[in-house]
Amino acid sequence: MSSADITSERDLPPESEASAKGDIAPERDGPRDTGLDDASLHRWLARTWRTPRGIIGALSSVDHKVIARRYLITAFLFLCLGGLNAVVMRIQLSGPQRGLIGPDLYNQLFTMHGVTMMFLFAVPIVQATGIYLVPLMVGTRNIAFPRLNAFSYWVYVSGGLFAWVSFALSMAPDVGWFAYVPLSGPEYAPGKRADVWAQMITYTEVSSLAVAVATIVTVFKQRAPGMSLDKIPLYVWALLVTSFVVVFAMPAVMITSTFLILDRLVGTHIFNPAEGGDALLFQHLFWFFGHPEVYIIFLPATGMVSAIIPAFARRPMFGHLGLVLSLIAVGFLSFGLWVHHMFATGLPKLGASFFTASSMMIAIPNGVQIFCWLATLWDSRPVIRTPLLFVFGFFFIFVIGGLTGVMLASVPLDLQVHDTYFVVAHFHYVLIGGSVFPLLGAAYFWFPKITGRMMSERLGRWHFWLAMVGFNAAFFPMHIVGLWGMPRRVYTYPAELGWGNINFFISAGAVLFFLSFVLFAFNLVHSALRGAPTGDNPWDAGTLEWATSSPPPSYNFARIPIVTNVEPLWAEREALPVATGLRVDVRELVVSTVAEAHPDIREKSATPSIWPLLAAIAVGATFLYSIFTPWAIVWGAAPIAVTLIGWFWPKGDPEDEG
């Protein structure tokens, strides 16, 4: 590909001239980066792309790295809160008939634990990692729709605050994280607790849908020249597939929560069997989202594994194409499994068998992924560092979780252990093994890129072993106690059942696991302040995020890289080919074609704006108010409209005009 391939089309002539002659005149132009020396180029770009100073400036930021950092820190805080919920529950369960907390608080605790971990930690943190890394990995200067991205963060924070303030007021949802009707319906859940669940779900999903759309468009349209579909890094593929799953799954839970609040608030009968509705409809709608949700959390983690392994195996990934196809296959199949959450509801046998088969089928593409990772490691001399240790931990734990998953896919076994601790053990093996362990590995792997400092390797190894032992000690015995018949979501149990000792052991493991996170938090803070400074590419990895400085400048790349290989930095060790010709006085980036990543347009990227925050406040207030009266939607429409107009109305920046 050369510059001669690039089709040059007309730019818009000035209005007066156009009407006068209908002729083609040059665009309002500015200085370009062609021929600029590095120092002046940096000065120009730093001034153009900087986030303004001051509190308003900080709140107006649209830099994907700034937003992602906020997301990561916020999600980590929610992880700590959700973890504390779990510790409190484990202390209560550490012996029979302990009186530490009563049933009402316990109901709120397990609901908040589930809601926090799923909606406020797991999904946001995998998306946040993508917000940070995807634009860097595809070689662009900002995420697509940067203001929408900023908006998504504010909506997410307001959703999280809403849930936790409700908890502080003893108004937190107490109906389980999936809030089945009729328990959560108007008849059995008076008060506002179930409404808090419904609205909080709706708005955190607004946030993750916005991020999904921004991610898809970034991957489709903003890839560096030459990054054709076959050269997209596996991590980016994983995030792309995940974003598609979000787009088609999240509306289901928004519909579910909206139907629920309509039933509760304005007296519709959608889930009311007495008036022609149906309670199982809730479960179908919820799990049509809920099962893909597992893969929304898991697929980005597989992408992280696929990024970490080549760096430490010192060779490109074995079976790149097979891995991409597996990701896509898992994305599709994830929509065909939801009914296996409903085997105990008395569905027709034929339907249940179909969902058993599809549940087992999804093990095939996941198996392909695992074999590709193992083959890559097998054929290499891996350098064993903390990120790779966590990948090993992921293999071990996730495979166990996968195997109990295949067991649960069979109806008779599922009926036997339904709603017992066996299921609790299974999904913690899948979610913590499948997502949290890769995330921890990813934290050690990309921390130097984000902060410019290395994390302590010694503490990292301690962290890994503590987490590994703590996790297995806490969750493995749950399989056993589940088979013994201990139901989930009970706040205590009588001594005669003989579950005391094993529960004490589980609680001790849980505390150990919690301590591993304390150690991790210490390592994060300590390394951010005192860690050894690092260069651009401390692991000598091959993807584009390592081509820029650590931490990356506001504009990501001084010049947009040109991609010639799936591991571009390994293919071009002498000097990275780059493109020139972009303006440096306005925020300009390259828009390319979807399949070939052929450069097509010099697009302007949005400037900082306070309006996304104001819009999020308007939306948040409307949702909050809507718990109390349906008229909130009417009154809230005006401020929402005003803030959206403020957001989109051009302010005279060249970026607005294009």
Partner: protein
């Protein structure tokens, strides 16, 4: 890391229409997720309709006429919508301004008729689940309609300011045309579900 310039992008245009522009893809993404929402709501309706043998639950038939008028108005609006798209592609500011005014009016007209659709359902949302689903389906599409008409009006005003004559704005007009097609398209199955499915039973 060392760099070597290997490509010159200075000749690239600064805007593009349709699938060339990221906004078009963003619009498509939002259509996909909203479309999924509609499909699931319709699915919920059909689920309940097949579950209960006496569906419509002894409610009277809805009067289809306001809905039919809305349908005709929406279908008719596609013609000027696509003429407008042609002008937006040519970046012809005069005809685009006229077209945007026309499309704003053609957005408001079905909204006015929509007002009469709700009583024509002949049932309230809290009577039974059948009534609930009709109101939900109609409500979803009305929200959709209101937001897009609001968006069209704001863009129309914008086109009359000095910000109007820019490549990006013409792209916005193109995306607005695209989105209106979607608003019309989603209405057809909802119209059939609300007014004609109950007549089958």
């Amino acid at each position: 890391m060392n760099q070597r310039p290997a490509m010159d992008l200075s000749g690239l245009p600064t805007f593009g229409h349709g699938p060339r522009s990221p906004t078009w893809w963003g619009t498509l993404g939002f259509m996909a997720l909203e479309g999924t929402g509609f499909a699931l709501a319709a699915g919920a309706y059909l689920y309940l309709a097949t579950l209960w043998p006496n569906w419509r639950l002894s409610a009277p038939q809805p009067n289809h006429w306001p809905g039919t008028i809305v349908t005709l108005l929406l279908i008719a609006s596609l013609v000027p919508n696509h003429i407008l798209n042609g002008y937006a592609k040519q970046c012809a500011i005069g005809p685009v301004r006229i077209g945007m005014v026309v499309m704003s009016l053609l957005g408001i007209a079905p909204l006015v008729v929509r007002w009469f659709e709700f009583p024509a359902l002949n049932i309230y949302w809290d009577t039974n689940a059948y009534g609930s689903m009709l109101w939900v389906l109609l409500g979803l599409h009305t929200t959709h309609l209101i937001t897009d008409v609001g968006d069209t009006i704001v863009l129309t005003v914008l086109m009359f300011t000095h910000h109007g004559y820019s490549g990006r704005r013409f792209g916005d007009v193109g995306d607005n045309v695209f989105y209106w097609d979607f608003v019309v398209l989603t209405w057809i199955p909802i119209y059939l579900l609300i007014y004609w499915l109950p007549r089958l039973g």
